[in-house]
Amino acid sequence: MNETALQAVAVHKRYRLGRQEIPVLRGVDLAVARGETVALLGASGAGKSTLLHVLGLLDAPSAGEIRFDGRRVDDLPVRERAALRHRHVGFVFQFYHLIPELTALQNVLLAQMMAISPLAYWRVRKQARADAEAMLERVGLQDRLRHRPTELSGGERQRVAIARALMASPQALLADEPTGNLDSHTAAGVCELLFDIQRQRGLALLLVTHDEGLARRCHRTVRMKDGVVER
């Protein structure tokens, strides 16, 4: 559990609103090790989601560094960052963010189509499909493969999103209030699944939540306030 999977070093993030510059992250230092679960708590606007996006290379820091396995990655070219985002981290969002035109299977399969050429994918398409079906079976959706997101419940959608996040075998999962949109019973099931998979795969899990109970299940809790990590 000592190997650092994700690390933010003195990360600043500022947004520009007209002529005004709004600091959202102000020198954040955070490291998440392999197999470690970290809950990120804080009020709305504290910078939790922004930190998650910056750590997952979805957004660039204004200053500071992002490191994957100890290697600085925020200064890589955009295409390499995209490939790294695909291989190294998996995102799970509060609102699932599934593509409505695709079935559950196709949404999961989509993750197999990243960072691979159409021709290369064509050669491995059968294996990719089998893997996606196995992953959906793992999250308990073997009977919902051909259902579109609108035909699935909230919990089922989140399970599809988890399956998609895991398809590329990432080393870290970044979950932004994964149960925030679910009822307590469904949320408990999704959490169980998330922690179960995290344990099995030894993933680094950074969990943004407002739920203190959920936070207590993590190895560590980090609180943020006004763009800084509270000590």
Binding site: L58, R85, L110, A111, I116, S117
Partner: protein, 495 residues
């Protein structure tokens, strides 16, 4: 290099968004319209060019001095190795008036009023020809075969072929004379002086050949129908010009069709000696000149454009040398130069039409742009999702670029298919439309054609297809670029 998800997502978007059918339909319609309309226009142009070519000689020596003598020029021109034959021509504007002594005796007698009761005016471009020599130039015999055919296809009646060129007597052939009995009957029909016995009638009228378009407008087709031919000229330099009119009576000797509407409507062919005499160059007069305004030239068959141009240059030098000293240089024009204004106008029309069709294609391209732009706006969240799971900006943009490409490919393929089918079955479809709905998309009668000429050039079809696809890709690149440059975090937060 793009990721595998780009074509996959693009395809899914196309299948699930019916608005894309609108874009496919727009491209299809544009490609179809461009192919079909241009095919018809190319067919028309091709037909026009072949008709114009058929009505023109290989080379025409023109812009000669007013007293140019044919015999002098003929010797100079026919000395060229590439020249096969020559024919003299004498051009003059004039009028033709049917002689209707019985039917029209009460009409306009002593009146200066213009007769407006029918649309056919008598103005004509009189061309004096030597029938035997003209036949050697080529074309005339074929024109005389086609003339009755054109009328027979449109109207019931006995449209007899002209016997003028089959006359064995060289003198009668030179006068385009009709059989004596025909003239006798025409004289009797018109109430003109004639022998009591047909056997004693000796033909006096030279013949005149008229284009089928003029005959159609005049509405008759009687052998040796008499005409008065009138032409006028001015004399006098310093003071008031004096108008001289010259007239001759001629008999209708047949109908021709050159294929050129202007010629078939406005041209009248009559013996060159008749026209020379009318213009004061009677062959019987001492000192008269076998005057010509043009000399038609037939070249050796199989000469290429360069050889024809070289022959033209040589002939110009030869003719200029044969002309009296101080004469202005003549012009030697090939068939395209003889009709340069008309052919330029046709080419200009085709260019304008292609521009209009290009605008149709632009509209189709705009539909693609609007569809894809709308898709980008509606799919902002998807753009964020694709980026979050590892899609590079280029591959995200490629989703929309490939969408545009697919729309263009489908639309173009359908447009090509429908365009080729339409072109192949245009006349059948035209007939069917007319039979069922009295609607004629391409009215043949307007252009006096037996069927709508349609010529689909494979190179043009390929150009249209490549152009349509390229244009679609260019317009699709704009929304694709927009998608690629979007901030994924803002996209995910988009509501």
């Amino acid at each position: 290099m793009i990721d595998a998800f780009s074509p996959y997502v693009a395809w899914r978007y196309l299948l699930t968004r019916r608005i894309n059918l609108l874009a496919v339909g727009g491209v299809m319609f544009a490609v179809w319209a461009i192919l079909l309309v241009d095919s018809v226009f190319t067919g028309f142009v091709s037909q026009i060019r072949s008709d114009v070519r058929a009505s023109a000689c290989d080379l025409m020596v023109t812009e000669l001095p007013h007293d140019a003598s044919y015999e002098a020029l003929r010797a100079a021109i026919e000395a060229d190795a590439d020249v096969v034959a020559t024919a003299p021509r004498l051009r003059h504007h004039g009028m033709l008036q049917q002689v209707r002594v019985r039917a029209g005796s009460a009409r306009n007698q002593g009146s200066s009023q213009v007769d407006f009761d029918h649309t056919a005016n008598g103005f004509a471009l009189l061309i004096g020809i030597d029938p035997a020599r003209e036949e050697a130039i080529g074309g005339l015999r074929q024109w005389l075969v086609r003339g009755p055919e054109e009328l027979a296809q449109r109207y019931p009646g006995d449209f007899w072929p002209s016997p003028a060129l089959d006359e064995t007597d060289a003198g009668r052939k030179g006068r385009l004379a009709m059989p004596d009995a025909d003239e006798w009957r025409a004289r009797r029909r018109a109430g003109l002086a004639h022998e009591p016995d047909v056997a004693n009638q000796r033909g006096a009228w030279p013949g005149v050949l008229l284009g089928w378009q003029r005959i159609r407008r005049l509405g008759w087709f009687a052998r040796s129908e008499p005409f008065d031919v009138v032409c006028a000229s001015f004399t006098g330099g310093d003071g008031d010009a004096v108008l001289h009119t010259h007239s001759a009576r001629v008999g209708f000797a047949g109908v021709f069709a050159t294929g050129s509407r202007a010629a078939d409507e406005g041209m009248a062919l009559l013996p060159i000696e008749t026209l020379r005499t009318m213009l004061g160059h009677d062959a019987a007069d001492p000192g008269s000149v076998d005057v010509v305004t043009d000399v038609a030239v037939r070249l050796r068959p199989g000469l290429g454009a360069a050889a024809v141009a070289a022959a033209g240059a040589r002939l110009r030098d030869r003719v200029n040398a044969a002309l009296p000293p101080g004469s202005p240089s003549c012009l030697v024009a090939d068939w395209e130069q003889q009709n340069v204004t008309f052919l330029s106008a046709v080419a200009h029309e085709q260019g304008m039409m292609q521009f209009v069709l290009f605008v149709v294609m632009l509209v189709a391209a705009f539909v693609i742009y609007a569809t894809l732009h709308m898709m980008v706006v509606q799919k902002v969240k998807d753009i964020g999702i694709l980026a979050a799971i590892g899609g590079s900006p280029r591959s995200v943009g490629a989703v929309f670029l490939l969408g545009g490409l697919a729309v263009a490919l489908f639309g173009t393929a359908l447009g090509l298919g429908v365009g080729v089918l339409s072109a192949a079955n245009l006349n059948a479809a035209n007939e069917w439309m007319y039979a069922n709905f009295q609607l004629e998309l391409f009215p043949r009668r307007l252009f006096d054609l037996r069927e709508v000429p349609c010529r689909l050039e494979p190179s043009w079809a390929a150009t249209v297809a490549v152009g349509a696809i390229a244009l679609a890709v260019v317009v699709a690149a704009v929304p694709a670029r927009k998608a690629a440059r979007m901030n994924p975090v803002l996209c995910l937060a988009h509501e």
